[in-house]
Symmetry: C2
Subunit: 379 residues, 2 copies
Amino acid sequence: MLSTLYKDAMTPHLPTVALPDESASYLKALEEATAHFFQQQEAVMQAISPETLPLLEAIAALSTGGKRLRALLAYWGYRGAGGSPLHQDAIKAGLAIELFQTAALIHDDIIDASDTRRGAPSVHRNFEAMHRERHYKTDAATFGVSSAILAGDLCLSWSEMVFSSITSLTATSEARFIFDLMRTEVMAGQYLDVVGEVVPEEEPDRALERAFNVIRFKSAKYSCEHPLALGGALALQLEHSTRSDLLEGYRAFALPLGEGYQLRDDVLGVFGEPDTTGKPAGDDVREGKRTVLTAYTAQKATPEARKLLETSLGDPHLTAETITQLQDLMRTTGALDEVENLISLKSEQALTQLAQLPLAQDVRSSLETLALKALHRLA
Amino acid sequence: MLSTLYKDAMTPHLPTVALPDESASYLKALEEATAHFFQQQEAVMQAISPETLPLLEAIAALSTGGKRLRALLAYWGYRGAGGSPLHQDAIKAGLAIELFQTAALIHDDIIDASDTRRGAPSVHRNFEAMHRERHYKTDAATFGVSSAILAGDLCLSWSEMVFSSITSLTATSEARFIFDLMRTEVMAGQYLDVVGEVVPEEEPDRALERAFNVIRFKSAKYSCEHPLALGGALALQLEHSTRSDLLEGYRAFALPLGEGYQLRDDVLGVFGEPDTTGKPAGDDVREGKRTVLTAYTAQKATPEARKLLETSLGDPHLTAETITQLQDLMRTTGALDEVENLISLKSEQALTQLAQLPLAQDVRSSLETLALKALHRLA
């Protein structure tokens, strides 16, 4: 039964915009490595107690879907720095990053009280449902959250376990340093996000500054800059603090790419269709997510409209009508345009930097395809 | 201000039963390494945003107190296998294990809805209080839990960061394998514990089996067996799957030690004074913790008394009177005696095995001191 689950979970979600064959081969190898890893862990969990298997099942199920953007960036970062095709180290790095992402999503969904993820119930909701089905005692929601905290912790440890199995790594590798910094930044950035949702009304400039910090640390560096640099550092077997022009160039490309990617995500969080986002329309508004888009809107709105925005953000019972009203507000204030302009600017920066990187043609075109998919959220 | 906090946090809590000087020196070196590590991370967090510092402060504050049993076992495991005194690797291993413990405590306290830890408010309660003090918006308790989830995640990553900075480690080291397995077992064991609190009334034998599994994986292996073996493996620079008589011997000593240690903890959770445990008397009963002690009691109680036990476990509003009633029940059924006998048996097993280990006298006596302190919870 579990093996079937892995198989389903691991069916590669190949993009419909054609990726070069090598990307497809990498994704396939990544899925195989993922399935193999889960099979190994199943044996470990069985030995502890079969009762613990739901933790593994939850992690495996959430590992399905997803665009594997981070793994692919790590892979092409590796290849662009001279790493050989489909090398084990690059597969392990991709798996480690994707497991970290799964762990982050599990805990994010608890924090945001999200019911759905990738079109399916979030992990804590799944455990909550299990509690009801099995007629467990006490509170189902509490059990759901407790179990999901543990599933996220387990997945976080597994991510590290896979990362440290990369044989070329040493205690002083730049790749190790990047992986560590990435994790600290994601958690700190996520905390800033949480704080942004609870601080009393503040100067729009202050809110904007925080929103840009959240984008940078929770998302842009994590989703684009660090994976690409990590792959490069791994192939170069770079020691920490050693300067590398290639890595600098990678970062100059991937940071604006990541910023544009997250700004696109923020727009989709308000304007996106459930088919694209896997979440109900306007979900970010109901969750009270403070973004560059909401900060611009607050900056430009009349006092009255700003009040509507402030009282609506974080209201879980918001009607579709108010969502539409807020969407209009974001349009008429020009805030949406401003974010779209920013996305264009970041895209341009990223692509200009990419053009200057000393890369073989197949690497460059793979990175370009990835960048365009990230910025435009093509399937 | 932060530096003061670290200083306070890092004041070594030296046991009042004299430890050999070398243990004291190790604890001092460990505290210095801890303070140094937090200072480094403070710079990283500052660079992200000063708003993120409360995460670091929460982790640093919780890193105070504690008996450092795990770190000391790792240290003497290292020394007993020929490692040199106060070696950096042993200090880093101890710090990594203690940071893992801090992370586990932060998340445990959310799961158990514990208000206090080591005599102070738990981390989620601290963030909840901060929310109120700063007049943040929305729900204070939710903010507390979200922030504590992130603080635990950050601490978990930091634990790993320190562990992987051990220069003698490779991807195939036995010490790395032990550290990874330990984490999986703790989280799986903790999940079993959570399940134990919600499953509908079941056969006492089944409950007893789960309680023993929880003890083994969440506690005994983690708190004693793995740290000692890890220290040994590190000093021997053992490759994974290589047989080592010394490590087998370590495990034969430290597993029963850990079981006895946890059984003692379970008794204290019901009968312990707040001064000793840092928690209100009977806290485990209010939390609904299912232990070997409660399983034995259920096994031996009359149907009526068993019903009282079942309805009391997990009732947060339990009166001191009912706690006393339950304590009496545990005494009169003989369940308490049975657990005490088991502790004696485990102690004996552990000490017999220790006597057979091929160790220098200072190592043996240090381990014996540690074992006795663990089993009797001397300060």
